[in-house]
């Protein structure tokens, strides 16, 4: 829309979170709505306005916590989290399957939320915590990993690490999930070999085994 149509934001309001009560009222004619936005905004009152650093396109240092350890890598802004994990940190459990994240094979936790590393830029993760499927392995694997093995919830195994992260994340949120809930809740991952039936069995087993935590 034309910039003439944008009402200038008054400073004080901006410092309370970027929402001008007056402008909102002007634009929408809904006074209550403006109040709601203002109340919802996070107040950063005492912080002096700053300008934002622009980095790149050259490689820049990115520091994030990966699997509990602080790591600094050098990567271009365009590098995906998946590329950095796989080629710089040797964490190859998350897999490159789809460029648009539609397979779920690159699922990792970003600040404890399951996201697709293939559609996340590494530089977005500056200062954040990344956790990968590798944290579920080791000598005492996570019950989800054990259940996947016990129920043969894999064939070629390429989609499996992403599925394991998804199941772990899903069960963390839904620790007593029923079979119907499992069938409804794990559709962000794709498997070509056709392991879904065994994935359902593995997830149910984790729920029933009470080892879900």
């Amino acid at each position: 829309m034309n910039r003439d149509q944008l009402a200038r934001i008054a400073v004080g309001d901006d410092e309370r979170g970027g929402v001008s009560r007056r402008a909102f009222i002007k634009g929408s004619g809904a006074a209550a709505a403006a109040t709601a936005i203002a109340q919802g905004a996070i107040v950063m009152a005492d912080e002096a306005p700053t300008s934002t650093a622009v980095v790149g396109p050259e490689a820049t240092a990115i520091t994030m916590t990966v699997n509990g350890r602080q790591r600094t890598v050098s990567a271009e802004p365009r590098a995906t989290l998946l590329e950095v994990l796989r080629t710089q940190l040797d964490l190859t459990g998350a897999k490159p399957v789809s460029s648009d994240g539609s397979s779920g094979a690159s699922t990792v936790w970003l600040d404890e939320k399951p996201v697709s590393a293939s559609t996340t830029l590494a530089i977005e993760c500056e200062g954040k915590s990344v956790r990968t499927v590798e944290t579920l392995g080791g000598v005492k694997p996570d019950p989800v990993v054990s259940a996947f093995a016990a129920h043969d919830a894999m064939q070629c195994g390429f989609c499996t690490p992403g599925f394991v992260v998804a199941v772990r994340a899903f069960l963390d949120k839904n620790p007593t999930a029923s079979e119907d809930e499992i069938r409804a809740g794990l559709n962000g991952n794709l498997c070509r070999c056709g392991t879904y039936a065994n994935v359902i069995a593995a997830a149910l087993d984790v729920v029933k085994g009470g080892s879900n935590g």
Binding site: A75, E76, A79, T80, E83, R86, T87, D90, L91, T92, G93, K95, P96, V97, S98, S99, D100, S102, S103, A105, T132, V133, E134, L136, G137, G138, P141, D142, V144, V145, F148, A149, A150, D152, A153, M154, Q155, C156, G157, F158, C159, P161, V164, I182, R183, A184, L186, N187, N189, L190, C191, R192, C193, G194, T195, Y196, A197, N198, V199, I200
Partner: protein, 730 residues
Amino acid sequence: MAEYSWPRRGTTSLIDTEQTRIDGVAKASGAAKYSCDINPKGTLVARAMGCPHAHCKIKSIDISLAKDVPGVVLVSPAKAIGDEIQWQGDIIAYVAAETEGAAAEGVAAITVEYEMLDVFVDDQHLAAAEAADRTGKPLSNVQLVNEPGDDEDEEAFEEAEIQRLLEASDVVVEGNYGINVITHMCMEPHGSTCEWNGDQLTAHLSTQNVSGTAGQFADPLGITASDVTVHCDFIGGGFGSKFAADSWGVACAELARQTGRPVRLMLDRDIELKTAGNRPSGFIKVKIGADKNGVVQVWDSQQWGTSGASGGGVSQGVVPYVFDPENRRRTATSIATNAGPQRAWRAPNHPQAAAITHTAYDDVAAALGIDSYDVFLRNLDSVSNDKADVYRAQMERAAELMQWKSKWHAHGKGEKKGSVVTGLGMGIHTWGGGGHNSTCRITIHPDGGVETALGSQDLGTGTRTVIGIVVAETFGLPLDAVNVKIGSSSYPASGPSGGSTTVAGVSESNRRAAQDALAQLNELVAAKLGVGAADLVAKEGRIQASGDASKSLSWKEACALLGMTPLEVNGEFRRGEPSSLSSSQVAGVQMAEVAVDLDTGIVKPLKFVAVQDMGLIINRKTAASQIYGAVIMGIAYSIFEERIMDLQTGAFLNAELADYRLPRLGDIGEIVVDLWEPDSEYERGVVGLGEPPVISPGAAISNAVANATGVRVPVLPLTPQRVLDALGSA
């Protein structure tokens, strides 16, 4: 030489039981390294540039801008000026760069001028293909009970005889059926990581053919196969598409040679789908005459389809599928399209043949108003293999598991709840299997360690575990006592994983080698214990005299008798040689129950029953997984997936995962797998399993939809659009 045999059924500790795959935790936790995970220090990432046009000539290629992109190390054209491109996605050039982003930017900076040529990609309409001069000469194949007279014109006689038989039939069904092209969509795209050590190449290749691909790299690179080692510990799916080194594998090796650095080159998803193989389409026009019981008297069909630029399509040798009525005429026409070449796709030809012919058989049942089950049953006398009795028994079992008889209703006559109707359908199938050539080397170390090495690979079927089970069972050891080494061409050659031949092949070589090795070890143990070698048995970690447990040695004590030198024994199997350990040829029956929403055309699988014979089962757990997986792949091509081509430009429109529809976890309904295994199956040895259960779902699901709705949706996949079109409500 010992007589090779399997232990008697019921006496095994590992074979024929459920064993957890030995690499399960490694795969589930991300520790397993696939070809695309191999990342030696300094590895460059390479990317292929696919042609955006389906049919054109290259007028010029300019790589100068691409070379200047920061991070780009090498740009290498794969085509020359004047080359003709015959399908979209054919590779024009490669770029090797420091990062993925630089490689992509390098590809985008290549400038190519094209001379556009006529495009043809329509495989559904034979007349259009004929008009465009894209059809091959029809192949025909006739079989009739009656013979022409000596001076009668053969074709005229055939035509007259077919017409006479149709007229004599109680019912004649005419129909059109079809199944679209699908792709392999391996989760791990095709590709490799290649590194050179002097003039020695190591190719970490995503391959189904570890032992066979070294020789494929050699010729184009001007070296010998002995200079090449192919490694593949884990492969992210192949389904028949990964038997070759491929031009992009060779290009990866060449880029590594020229840059002096390791190079990883995985195809982009869209290029892979466009150029690295697909399953041909099949369309058919059928006239089928049957008696009042639904027994087919005469089959007359004209089929067509495409395998891409070379024409092809579905082999008419399998039409009608499994059933082979005495009177039949079949004609097949191939259509050459500007589309990528086919490759083997799990059970080549069979799924398409089942989908386009068992549907016609089911329409006989619909026309006569009789139970589809009875029509399939009554036609079993005409099956082309010797499995009629097996099918009968399997049908009975499947019907019991599906509760077919209590659920059955005539086509289109079921109860409607809201806008939802349900229905039943079935199909039957056959496959050969049997072992491929396989050599292995078993080593027993004096400290008791056991390893077996062979140039096989694990497609995901559990091959590693199967090998371990066979060897451990033979030696009376636990599964984890055997170190299974596969996935390298430096090991004794074993066949590629294709055609359901791997489990039989590797079981043969390993059982043979293990039996021979044990016999040699037993000679030493027998001398030590003072008993006859023939009286010794290996079980529960000991070698002991049968019937006298006091005379025994632990496995470790026994192996110590080897002295300083490990015992190495090779096992070998050649396909086709008679053996008591393996055989071939299976049957299989599948039934589907689906629900269809008549208002939206959406098809949902409710329940699927798969009854499958497979000879002796090495590992029940991974065997069942194979069947579950095949059924789900079957649901995929029956309801969801197809290659969609733009008829104007020849572009493959849905060559990304977001657009290429596949079922998800919530889409599969209930799947009941029944391992069909009377003692006769165990006794005939190992056969192989991957292909057969993927064959029938198309027919079973299409028939279930026809039963539910009362109309035939002629072409798979059964999308809402096609279902609504068939219902006449679109």
